[in-house]
Symmetry: C2
Subunit: 339 residues, 2 copies
């Protein structure tokens, strides 16, 4: 399996996620059958081949790459990396670094995938640690929000980097021509916000980005911006509250609609509300942002369909030269804002 | 009208709010008719008396106190205070300072009410500017969240003060015996959070408060704490996103239920979802927290019913010695955390 085949080579962490390896292998087989990708299934050879044998996959470009151990959700990632250097997520990420794969995908511990990406691939200039983001609020399916990851204390210059990444994300992955970039704040007026927002606002005005100023949290749902920039603390609050609302309101509706509609209609409406607020599970996953290579992370509860979509995202990121474009743009912007 | 009547004396800003003075006067008349309060309607004497004449209020303990001008939503509060020293909100707040009223209530510009309270009544020790909070998320009607106001850059010691205020709020106004106090963060584990949360967590552990650690944003809806402490930036995001979700999901439901249920049933369900997420309008208002006196602010869109409830909140705050209790508790805690 080489680049000459014209296939995008994806290293899949076959051991990561609640339903691994069964669902991961199933999703990888689907993706390979759809075409365009060659898959490396990184995991325990015995377990993975046993799963693979359940599928009609002999003719597909799928290869097993052995690994030892898996980093579990909740393990301290950096410690786990030292203790399990051959864990599946580390081997998969290492293949990207060595050029043996074009991208890696993991549905296991996000912390582990981040640590592996930061440590093995390295973060790009202007970024302290990998960021996470994308259209994480189901009611705003075209709005990129970042960071929703682990950058909980951000300097204004980091937020500017997020704005650049979000701009490339919206253009390359969502097809927005000239994304409107906004800062999440407590009021739409220019002077409103905390110190971090005010200072970032000044920097963003010096860039060539299409910076449209502040938006408030409710504006996220009103399509007032294509990219909403915030630190990872605030982004996490937005994402978790959105998920919580979806679940709570779906539950509320089950009660208030019960008896008024057929049970399956009630279920359908409640599920729609739930899904509108919990896109992370359905979307498959998102690329780690600000690392030197394509590493897509997904939800631990992911099943085959989600893994297939995550592979699709990885493929698209490779094909659109996502990382290279981010690097180019970050270079330009850093010149403009020069700290 | 004096304290000897046994009535709680409320100075009402009759000119503040979108429907002032008509709805404000109507609500004040209702509150006075219900008993327990004596009302000062602070406003333009002609306009207020014209409204008052529409009601059967002759026998009620209502008195007009003249003022000149009103601070509009969006005006720069401190500037407005200098330019309109006899504006209704300033006169009403001044009556509390002078002891002529036990509490004041305004449905006008929150910024103006805050500035008036901070400037005229003064903030209590350990507080930089008035805080705002309460059960602001409809799906969590017993969970006090603060700050949701203007404290967008907080030192850990300020968050400790908010915890103390929230504790008194939950005990006095919501009847929770020993409120569980939590910090809003990005993970429930003790080590998770930004610098602000980590440092505040250490301080809170030294207090006698029932500090239960961190909660995540979705936990707000799962009754994991009675008081959720955050800075005003994050609190504003929580409140605004909650409102936005309610409106957006109500809209979504109107579409998805349309034709499946009678239109009035659809309307009722959509309204319930909206109200569950937008409690601020219904609740009436909340007391400014951390000021030396009772000043209740409400939603600009408030109508008579909301104003009546806001008066009820003011009365309860006076009767429960809300401010005095906060001051006592803050003193105790400051000794425990001594910076």
């Amino acid at each position: 399996m080489t680049q000459e085949t014209g296939l995008t080579r994806i290293a899949v962490d076959a051991m990561g996620g609640d339903s691994a390896p069964a669902e991961i292998v199933a999703g990888a087989v689907q993706a390979a059958a759809d075409g365009g990708v060659a898959i490396f299934l990184v995991g325990d050879p015995e377990q993975v081949s046993a799963q693979l044998a359940k599928h009609d996959a002999k003719a597909l470009p799928i290869q097993i790459v052995p690994s030892e151990g898996v980093v579990a959700e909740g393990e301290q990632p950096m410690l786990a990396m030292r203790q399990k250097p051959k864990a599946s997520v580390i081997v998969a990420t290492g293949m990207v670094k060595k050029g043996a794969a074009d991208a890696c995908v993991s549905m296991g511990s996000t912390g582990a995938a981040m640590a592996a990406a930061a440590y093995i691939l390295g973060v790009i200039d202007g970024i302290d640690r990998p960021a996470l983001g994308g259209p994480v609020v189901g009611l705003a399916p075209k709005t990129v929000i970042l960071d929703v990851g682990t950058n909980v204390d951000c300097r204004p210059s980091q937020l500017v980097s997020f704005a650049v990444i979000g701009d490339v994300f919206a253009r390359q992955l969502l097809g927005v021509e000239r994304p409107r970039i906004a800062l999440l704040s407590v009021g739409a007026e220019a002077g409103k916000g905390n110190r971090q927002v005010k200072e970032t606002s000044e920097l963003l005005q010096k860039t060539s980005l299409n910076f449209v100023g502040n938006v408030e949290a409710n504006d996220i749902l009103l399509d007032k911006a294509d990219v909403v920039v915030c630190d990872g603390f605030v982004g996490n609050v937005v994402m978790k509250l959105s998920e919580g609302f979806g679940s709570a309101l779906a539950e509320h509706l089950r009660t208030s609609l019960s008896g008024k509609l057929a049970q399956e209609e009630v279920d359908g409406i409640a599920k729609a509300i739930h899904d509108l607020s919990n896109p992370a599970e359905g979307a498959g996953g998102g690329p780690l942002l600000g690392v030197n290579g394509v590493s897509v992370v997904g939800h631990g509860r992911a099943r085959a369909e989600s893994l297939k979509r995550a592979i699709g995202i990885a493929k698209m990121a490779v094909e659109t030269r996502f990382i290279e474009k981010i690097n180019e743009e970050l270079g330009k912007v850093r010149e403009a804002v020069r700290e």
